[in-house]
């Protein structure tokens, strides 16, 4: 009995040693990838020594643990590395490749041990043969001897204590069979004193990080800690609810301290889970090296902000998507060296990774200076593949068209390579990133390059959210998807009906006018009570939608993908930090909810998944429509997007016809009540902040039938051209788009420069100059008098 217990303990101990070995080796191997790639360009003795040490350690431990395959593999690797270290072998691509394969093999074996306890069946005879062959094939090159110097030689050399020649001589003696250590030889040569050797060794070891300052902690333990802190945050929230005015002073003070301590503890524990993004970037030099070699391209990798930290779970989650994007940058993005030279670029392409913090998020950018995405080609491809109909494709703006690459089953690669082009990937990239509450967007300029911008939340566990009320339930909406809040008035008509004056209905689908654009509304009540929004509900009333006795409701404007829509809720309570908890397996399939949390009063509230709701009500089905309220700020960091020839245009409507005019000419947008308009002579004008604005009715001027309801305020675009100002009256102001306008033909119509297709609609481009001057020659005179007066 006692004997058996002894054995069990031994096994446990062995397991522990084995586990530690696997974890440690895995960490070291990750660094090896990078070190080996570095070695190709930079023959640093220090790097060689580090690689050697790692392989040597693995060899030693695997011998001790009885891992035969691992030992024999690392043994040949070590032999080869020893030759490289002492300079008898120059570092060649063949050697690096073989060593990288060795790293892979070791990794495979470790994985096999980790999973099923054994080394697996593979013996890697080819790799062993190759490594052996490489290490025996060498011709010694005396000059490189210095590069091969170990840590002592390197240190002394850096400190200027010895010359390269002295070091080379000493190393040669070692090669010739001198068994003594380098320091001893150098001392004997008279190059150096024993004290200097001691100093150099001391400095060298002090440079190494002190192992005692860090400890290895099981991730599971950190997860537990994080959960406990989550609990503490909840308890804190509950306690704080008891702090009312008039509560005992001591209680209030203690609660405040509890509040502070909890916040700090939360930050501290979250910090323990943070890891630099470097941890996943480390493998990219290797990825790029392998990729460029297999597809005959040349690429350089630049990394910026690699110390940017992210929660470990998030880091794991973005590892694969980022790798995919990096591979894509090389495979799809960069041109062949010949193609690059032909385009006046250096043969070697650049792939750049940037990571930085921005407004509570971490942004990771993957840029290449390759060919960019050819939107027209994309459009044809999309139609060809049946992802889009021809009309749909033509209707999409370039920006929206680029989004098509995130559609499942889409690939633009001319030929399918084994790396990419198989039409799987980008959709997975996007869904993976969105799965952790992030987003990905793409900026591209033809011929200049492409940038993928990935936005990731800092942490998953605790997020800020807005708490809203629907019926008797409370729901949390993550702040990340929130854009703005609007009050929605509820009023009673004379005959006692409840109406929502700011909501209009299109076949049962509610919409709201937000700054001249239609915002689709989703009544959360409708969603939760299973009422359908596809028009089958004839009920345009509000009976079921408005809480009884309520005077107002709220529109929470949210963003899902590129779509904005308004969630109509009964009330808004507060924003608070909530702890995201998973829904059990019974509910994990419900797409409308992302999880649940516990509120201050101890009750459970569901967390809305805005994406899920958008899908549920059919807002984000299929290809995104060409709708956007604002023009997104372009990112000037890597791609100079501003240099593209797009011109911002203001879109407006008169009657059923679309017009646009260059934003450049627009001074501002105004609304005037009809009764504010005064007549001056035969023209109309309004007073505005002490100045007179002359109004030009575009409908009249361009002979277009207008649709203007009586009593509605006039929408006015105030334009300035060469010091002349006037207000152009239109029916509706829509949007600002950034579009390259190719006026299809020169229009003979008065006031129109030409015609363009914007968002799939024929749009007349207004000639502001002609309208302002030609139409009313007197206007310029008036304006100049005003100027004079001013």
């Amino acid at each position: 009995m006692a004997n058996r217990e002894m054995n069990v303990m031994d096994d446990d101990e062995l397991d522990e040693v084995m586990n530690e070995f696997i974890i440690e080796s895995r960490d070291n191997l990750d660094q090896l990838d990078q070190a080996l790639v570095d070695l190709e360009t930079n023959h640093d003795a220090e790097v060689v020594a580090r690689i050697f040490r790692t392989i040597h350690t693995i060899k030693g431990t695997s011998g001790f643990l009885g891992l035969g395959t691992l030992e024999s593999l690392t043994h040949v690797g070590e032999t080869l590395l020893a030759k490289v270290r002492d300079g008898s072998l120059p570092v060649t691509t063949a050697i690096t490749t073989a060593l990288l394969s060795l790293v892979d093999a070791v990794r495979e074996i470790l994985q096999s041990i980790g999973m099923n306890g054994g080394e697996g069946d593979l013996a890697y005879p080819d790799l062993i043969a190759e490594l052996t062959q490489l290490s025996t094939a060498a011709a010694p090159a005396p000059d490189t001897a210095v590069h091969g110097a170990g840590m002592l030689g390197g240190q002394l050399l850096r400190e200027g204590k010895i010359t390269e020649a002295q070091l080379a001589a000493a190393l040669r003696r070692q090669d010739q069979g001198d068994q003594r250590r380098l320091g001893e030889i150098l001392v004997e040569q008279g190059a150096i004193t024993p004290a200097e050797v001691r100093d150099a060794l001391k400095t060298h070891f002090e440079d190494q990080p002190n192992a005692n300052e860090t400890i290895r902690v099981d991730v599971g333990l950190l997860d537990d800690l994080m959960n406990l802190v989550g609990e503490l945050v909840l308890a804190r929230n509950q306690i704080l609810e008891f702090v009312q005015p008039g509560a005992a002073l001591a209680f209030t003070a203690t609660s405040q301290r509890l509040n502070l301590i909890t916040t700090e503890l939360q930050a501290g524990v979250m910090k323990t889970r943070m890891q630099p993004i470097e941890n996943i970037w480390n493998r990219f030099p290797r990825v790029i090296r392998d990729l460029t070699m297999s597809c005959g391209k040349k690429a350089r990798l630049e990394m910026e902000g690699k110390h940017t930290e992210l929660d470990k779970t998030l880091l794991e989650a973005i590892k694969d998507p980022l790798t995919h994007l990096v591979r894509n940058a090389v495979d799809h993005g960069l041109e062949s060296p010949a193609g690059r030279l032909a385009n006046g670029k250096p043969a070697e392409g650049l792939v750049r990774l940037r990571a930085f913090h921005e407004g509570g998020h971490v942004i990771v950018e993957i840029s290449d200076d390759g060919a960019g995405i050819n939107v027209d080609k994309l459009r044809n491809k999309a139609v060809e593949k049946g992802v889009l109909g021809a009309d749909e494709a033509a209707a999409l703006s370039d920006r929206d068209m680029i989004d098509v690459i995130f559609q499942p089953g889409f690939s633009t690669a001319e030929t399918v390579s084994n790396i990419s082009g198989r039409g799987v990937g980008m959709d997975v990239v996007r869904s993976n990133i969105e799965g952790i509450g992030g987003s990905v967007e793409v900026h591209t300029v033809l011929g200049v390059g492409t940038t993928f911008r990935v936005k990731i939340p800092l942490t998953l566990a605790i997020i800020p959210a807005l708490v809203v009320a629907v019926g008797e339930g409370r729901y949390a909406i993550p702040q990340i998807s929130l854009l703005e809040l609007l009050r929605l008035d509820v009023s009673q008509t004379d005959d006692g009906r409840t109406v929502l004056p700011n909501v209009e209905w299109i076949q049962g689908a509610p919409v709201h006018r937000l700054r001249g654009r239609l915002l689709p509304l989703v009544f959360l009540r409708d969603v939760f009570e299973g009422r359908v929004l596809d028009g089958s509900v004839a009920d345009e009333g509000v009976t079921n939608r408005v809480p009884s006795g309520g005077e107002s409701m709220y529109i929470v404007v949210v963003q899902a993908d590129d779509h904005q829509f308004g969630l109509v809720v009964d009330g808004i309570s507060d924003t608070s930090e909530i702890v995201v908890k998973p829904l059990g397996r019974l509910l994990s399939h419900v797409e409308a909810f992302a999880g649940a949390t516990i509120m201050g009063d101890g009750r459970v509230a569901l967390i809305l998944d805005v994406m899920g709701i958008a899908k549920h009500v059919g807002i984000t089905s299929g290809v995104r429509q060409a709708s956007r309220l604002t023009v997104e700020a372009t990112d000037p960091t890597f791609l100079d997007i501003a240099s593209s020839r797009c011109e911002p245009l203001l879109l407006c409507n008169i009657g059923t016809r679309r017009f646009c005019l260059p934003l450049e000419a627009v001074a501002r947008l105004e609304e005037f009540e009809a009764d504010a308009i005064e007549l001056t002579g035969r023209r109309r004008a309004v007073q505005y902040k002490g100045e007179i604005i002359h109004l030009i009715d575009l409908a009249e001027m361009l002979s277009v039938p207008a649709e203007r309801a009586d009593g509605r305020p006039l929408r006015v675009i105030v334009c300035t051209d060469d010091g002349v100002s006037a207000g152009l009256v239109v029916d509706e102001i829509f949007d600002i788009v950034e579009e390259e306008v190719v006026a299809s033909e020169h229009s003979s119509d008065f006031g129109i420069i030409g015609t363009a297709v914007i968002h799939g609609l024929i749009t007349d481009v207004i000639d502001v100059h002609q309208i302002l001057r030609g139409a009313t020659p007197a206007l310029s005179a008036v304006a100049s008098v005003e100027e004079f007066a001013a």
């Binding site: 959960n227 989550g230 609990e231 909840l234 019926g471 008797e472 339930g473 969603v527 939760f528 009570e529 299973g530 009422r531 359908v532 009884s548 908890k581 998973p582 829904l583 059990g584 397996r585 019974l586 509910l587 399939h589 419900v590 797409e591 409308a592 909810f593 649940a596 516990i598 101890g602 009750r603 459970v604 509230a605 569901l606 549920h616």
Partner: protein, 189 residues
């Protein structure tokens, strides 16, 4: 699979209307009073809601609805039997009344007779014959196979069809009635 034996033969038993039901003691984490529940829209009415069990969010199943019984009379204060599964997930079932833990020892359970229909037939793994009563042993795994989750399924949400949610007439409750009951109770509050 006509009969099932538990290892220790002890069952936590409870009443659901006139049914005496039991689950293995080893599967029960705890028994607690009814908690404040948060309703979950868009899911099957069998899911009663979510409760906060010391910081863990637990889904509650209305066992009456699950087996197709009418809702409990209002004077009954239901109890939560919290069941822990092998993967450490936890689900709570709402029952009418908790009864004793019964040790039935090492006896063979009888299979459900062919004449028994309804959800009971699927959910009961075996019957233990006691003096004067029958103890039905519930299958805690099958309990989780909730027939319809409304989710995105629009037809299920379309109450006009009056679609029958459960298998047998008599024990079934139509979607229609549920929606009405649901909305009525909301308006009351």
């Amino acid at each position: 699979m006509s009969a099932v034996r538990t290892r220790d033969g002890r069952y936590c038993t409870f009443m659901l209307a006139d049914l005496h039901l039991g689950v293995p003691v080893s599967a029960v984490q705890e028994v607690i009073r009814a908690q404040v529940r948060t309703q979950v829209p868009l899911v099957s009415p069998v899911i009663d809601g979510l409760i906060n069990l010391r910081g863990v969010i637990v889904t509650t199943i209305d066992l009456r609805r699950r087996v197709g019984l009418p809702p409990a009379p209002s004077e009954i204060e239901p109890m939560n039997v919290v069941i822990r599964y092998e993967d450490d997930s936890v689900v709570s079932i709402l029952v009418d009344e908790i009864r004793d833990v019964i040790d039935i020892g090492d006896v063979e359970l009888e299979a459900v007779p062919a004449t028994v229909h309804g959800a009971c037939r699927d959910l009961v793994t075996g019957i233990h014959k006691r003096d004067g009563s029958l103890l039905l042993i519930l299958d805690t795994i099958k309990l989780l196979d909730i027939p319809t989750a409304v989710g995105r399924d629009r037809t299920a949400a379309d109450s006009d069809s009056g679609e029958q949610r459960q298998l047998e007439p008599g024990l079934s409750i139509s979607t229609n009635q549920f929606e009405l009951r649901h909305q009525a109770s909301r308006r009351d509050q």
